[in-house]
Structure formats: C-alpha cells, structure tokens
C-alpha cells in the first residue's frame, strides 16, 4: 500500500531574506511543504534556488525570516541539527566521499543512528556487531532499491556521474529522513538516466512516504513528478501552485521566455 497521502504542512519558510554583501540572493520568500508531497523549486540560473535549499538545511543563515519544521520555529539552523531533526539532502555538484567505497559512503548516512561505543565497535563485539549488521541490512535494502548492487565495493570516485548521483541519493536515504532536499538530482544526465532518477524519486516518495523538495531545471521532469511548484526569479517568488497553474502564470512565462520591450 502506498503511504502517500498529502497531509499537513511540515516545513514552512517564512519571509526569508538572504544577502551576500550587497547581492540579494533571496528577498522575502515564503512557501510551505506538506507531508508526503513532492515540492519543486524552479527558476532561471542564479534565481536563488540553491541558496534557498541551503537556508533550509542550515548551511546559510538568512538575515531575516524564520523556518518552521514540524511545529518548531528557527531563526537559524545548522546542518548538524537539521540532520538530527530528519532533514537530508543531496548536492548539485557531487559531494561524495571519493576515497570510500559505495557501501561505506552509504553507511555514513547511518552515523547518527549508531549507538554503541567505540571500543565495542573496534573489537566487533556483542551489541556493536549486532548493530552494525542491522544498519548494514538497512543499507542493503537501499542499495537494492536504487539498483547499485554491482558497485558496492567500488570506490565512489571511479563511478560514472549518473551512478554517483544515485549514491548521493542513497546516502541521504540511509538517514531515513522525514524531509529530503534534492539539489538538481538530474543535472547533467542523459535521458535514460533522468528517467531512472525520476522513477527513484517517485518510488521514494511513494514507498517511504518521504517528503521531497527538489530543485530542477528540466521543466518536463518538474511538471511530471511534482505536486506543487515554487518559481523563483532574481531571488523573488514569482509563482506558486500546481504545475498547471504555474505553467499558465504570466510572470513565469516572462521569466522563462523573456518579455517584449
């Protein structure tokens, strides 16, 4: 059975403004994300999409505005706290641990859930052994899910780009996140890889009920897989609604196709 019933608001971004020196990256952005929803953020290059994601996950601290996640309101997040609260993310330019195998990369995602102490881990003794096995089992499920069984032991740096993107997703999934932030998961992929990735995103949403916020350039993809779309342009929100609503929004069309002067 699908767990996917769009529920209440889990994440609300309230009046966020972010500036780097004199450059305004985001100006008074507000939007919300409902439980189990696939929410897309689109916009031309430099519109502030990644900055917005970085604010949600605490890499940047906005000068104004607050972020509300599951009833708690924050003026500033930090990446560690975000992770503890159940926010996972993937990166636009890959940020994998290149020296480590695919398996180890994904296992790091379980780090927050490891409980036994160092000494026991080192000796592979008793509860530590059992815990490691449990985590391994979970990670194997994700590996099967994303169809990367064949690359378990391969150092991540040697994999082709499309597969690296998949490992990035796998690592985020290993955290069992409540909210998954995907920063251009399909950038630089060919058609086939894009289709695979779309399928994975939808499956994650469907099977685990994970709420997803994704940034994407490919309009076709966005319109196909997302429930609601936020459109940014020059750091301002110019549209918000279902794909159909956004597609017919005058401002959005102007931003993407240009206006007549």
């Amino acid at each position: 059975m699908s767990k996917r019933i769009v529920g209440d608001v889990v994440l609300a971004v309230e009046e966020i403004s972010l500036a780097f020196g004199g450059v305004k990256a985001l100006t008074g952005i507000s939007f919300d994300v409902r439980e189990h929803e696939v929410r897309a953020i689109i916009g031309p290059n430099g519109a502030g999409k990644s900055s917005l994601l970085n604010c949600i996950n605490g890499v940047y601290t906005p000068q104004h505005g607050r972020i509300r996640f599951r009833g708690k309101s924050f003026a500033r997040m930090n990446p560690h706290r975000a992770a503890v609260m159940g926010i996972a993310r993937t990166f636009q330019s890959l940020a994998l641990f290149n020296g480590m195998s695919v398996l180890d990369n994904i296992m790091t995602g379980r780090n927050l859930r490891m409980r036994t102490n160092l000494l026991l881990q080192a000796l592979r003794f008793g509860p530590a052994q059992k815990e490691e096995l449990e985590h391994r089992e979970f990670v194997e499920k994700i590996i099967d899910f994303l169809e990367i069984q064949a690359y378990r032991k391969t150092p991540v740096g040697r994999l082709p780009y499309g597969l690296q993107k998949r490992v990035d997703l796998a690592r985020a999934l290993a955290m069992e996140p409540l909210l998954l932030l995907l920063d251009e998961p399909m950038a630089g992929m060919n058609l086939e890889e894009k289709q695979d990735m779309c399928r994975f995103v939808l499956d994650v949403n469907d099977e685990f009920g994970t709420t997803i916020v994704l940034i994407e350039h490919d309009m076709g993809v966005v319109m196909d897989i997302s429930d609601r779309v936020v459109v940014l342009d020059y750091g301002r929100k110019i549209g918000d609604g279902t794909p159909a609503e956004v597609r017919s929004n005058r401002d959005v069309i102007d931003a993407y196709l240009g206006t007549k002067h």
Binding site: N57, V59, P79, H80, L96, F97, T108, N111, A172
Partner: protein
C-alpha cells in the same frame, strides 16, 4: 655480514621512530584533509609537558614510586594535549570550515610557531631529562653465528614494540569503527559530512587529541633517547619524506615509509657515504622522497588521485 645486519637493525629502529611522527601527520590528514604542519611542535609540546610534570610531581605530592609518578605525569600530559586539541578546534579550525586545504595548512603553520613558543615559555627551554624506565642496556644477539654478535639497543626494541601496538590500534580504529568511518568522511568533504549529521567540531577534537596522543608517545620515546629539547620539533622534518614515500592517507604507509627511510639512511651512510665524502645521512631521505615523487606522486599506499576534467 654481522656489521650489515647491525646497520640494518639500527636503521629499522630509527625508522620506527620516524614512523611514529609520520603517523601523526597521516592521522590528521586522513581525518580532516589538513596537512598538519604543527605535528613537530606537538611532539615537542607533549614531551615538554611530560618531562616537566614528571619532574614537578614527586616533590609536590611526595611520591616515591617512579612508575606511579610517571603514570600520573603521562595522564596529565595527555589531558594537556586534549585541551590543546580543543583550543585548536575552538580558536582556529572551527572558523575555517569549508575552506581550502591551503588555508588550513597556513593555519597549522601558525599553530606550529605558537606551540613552539608557548610550550617553551610554559615549561622552560632547557634540555630536560626524561626517564620513563626504558632499559638502556645493550643486547647482543646471535653471538654464536657472528663474532661478537649483533649489538641491539633494548630501548629501541621496546620503542618498536610500542609503535607496532599503536599502529595496529589506529588501523583498527579507522577501518572498523563507525567513528573511523565518520573521520574518513570528514576528510573527503566537510559539507557533505555535516549534511548527514556528522558533528565536525567533535570529530576535529577527537582527531587532534589522537594526534596529540601519538605526538606524546613519539615525544616520550625520542625524549628519553635524546633528552627533551627544542630539536624534537625538527624531527617532524624527517617525517616529511616518510609521508611522501608512504602516502599521506595510509597508516601502514607511514610505517613502511619510516622503515625504508630509516634503513636507507643508515645503509647509504655506511656503504655509499664514503664515496661521496660522508654525511649523506642528513639529506638522503629527501633525495629518496624526491625521486619517489617523480614515479609515484601518491606514495606507496596512498589513494590514487582521480581527477575528472
């Protein structure tokens, strides 16, 4: 033949000590991607702390037992190194998250000079004797096979054993524990590590403390051989060719590298030295490392550098 073996063994022993210092470099590089220029200063600082605590404690506490007072001094020196690690993280590293490797390298250069100076103003700048009870008497091996046997220093044997134990512990820690995995993750990518909830600050304090521990052990062994003095801080320079040879990311590499340098140094001095006018022990290691860089830039066991363009 006996003489050759003796040279070989003394080379291996010295090499083991180089390895200990090199290990400090490798640890921090593996776990935070920082080339820690301050490792030598940490060795000096730790050894000074140990030597002075061992000197101050007995009159202060009225302790007669040498082993006990040494043990307490060791614990205190270790605590000092943990505090140093914590301060380094607080005051320098935590402000440099997500910065380039070069920036961090420069920071450790500053830390090195600070520790050198601060350690000496805190603990004094004389030469201090450090006696932790390592046996000093020589040992003669294989007296039946060679005339006069082979002279081996017992102290060196102990040092080698300690180093071996230390190394296997660290290798286990890095490869088999979740914390070790987290450390390797931080080395690869700060941002990604943070995003999956690895607490960067805590990891850095752990790594620098472990490096401090290694520095302390190296400092004690070197210090009890040569006396604790400023030149200990320069031992780190000998560890540079070792890490180049062994690879910056490999714990076993640091060991093998150290042994190669140690043995190469002694053998070349004895067998090639006379032809070149002697004294080649001082620069031999660097030339070896340089030649090695041309053939295998990642070192013997280093991770192969894969760069997508």
């Amino acid at each position: 033949m006996g003489f050759f073996l003796e040279t070989l063994i003394s080379g291996l022993m010295v090499g083991m000590l180089y390895s200990l210092v090199a290990l400090g470099f490798v640890l921090i590089f593996k776990a935070s991607g920082v080339f820690n220029f301050a490792q030598g200063a940490m060795v000096l600082f730790a050894a000074l702390a140990m030597a002075r605590f061992a000197e101050w404690l007995p009159p202060l506490l009225g302790l007669q037992n040498k082993i006990l007072s040494n043990a307490i001094a060791f614990v205190l020196a270790m605590l000092t190194m943990v505090v140093v690690a914590w301060l380094i993280e607080r005051l320098a590293l935590s402000r440099l998250v997500n910065q380039q490797g070069v920036t961090l390298l420069m920071a450790t250069l500053g830390i090195a000079y600070f520790l050198d100076g601060f350690g000496q103003s805190l603990f004094g700048s004389d030469i201090y004797k450090l006696d932790v009870g390592l046996p000093k008497d020589p040992l003669f091996l294989l007296e039946g096979t060679f005339q006069g046997g082979i002279l081996v220093n017992k102290e060196d044997l102990y040092a080698a054993a300690i180093a071996a134990v230390l190394v296997s512990m660290l290798a286990l820690f890095f490869q088999k524990t979740a914390t070790g995995r987290a450390l390797r993750a931080v080395a690869d990518d700060h941002q990604a590590a943070q995003s999956i909830g690895i607490p960067l600050n805590r990891i850095w304090v752990i790594v620098w403390s472990v490096a401090g521990f290694v520095a302390l052990v190296a400092g004690i062994i070197w210090g009890s051989k040569l006396g604790v003095q400023f030149s200990l801080s320069l031992v780190a320079l000998k560890a540079l060719p070792v890490v180049i040879l062994g690879g910056l990311t490999s714990v076993p590499g640091a060991i093998i590298g150290g042994l190669i340098i140690g043995v190469g140094e002694k053998l070349s001095e004895v067998y090639i030295g006379p032809a070149l006018g002697g004294g080649i022990e001082i620069w031999f290691a660097y030339v070896l490392a340089l030649a090695f860089l041309l053939v295998r830039p990642q070192g013997l066991f280093g991770e192969k550098i894969i760069d997508r363009v």
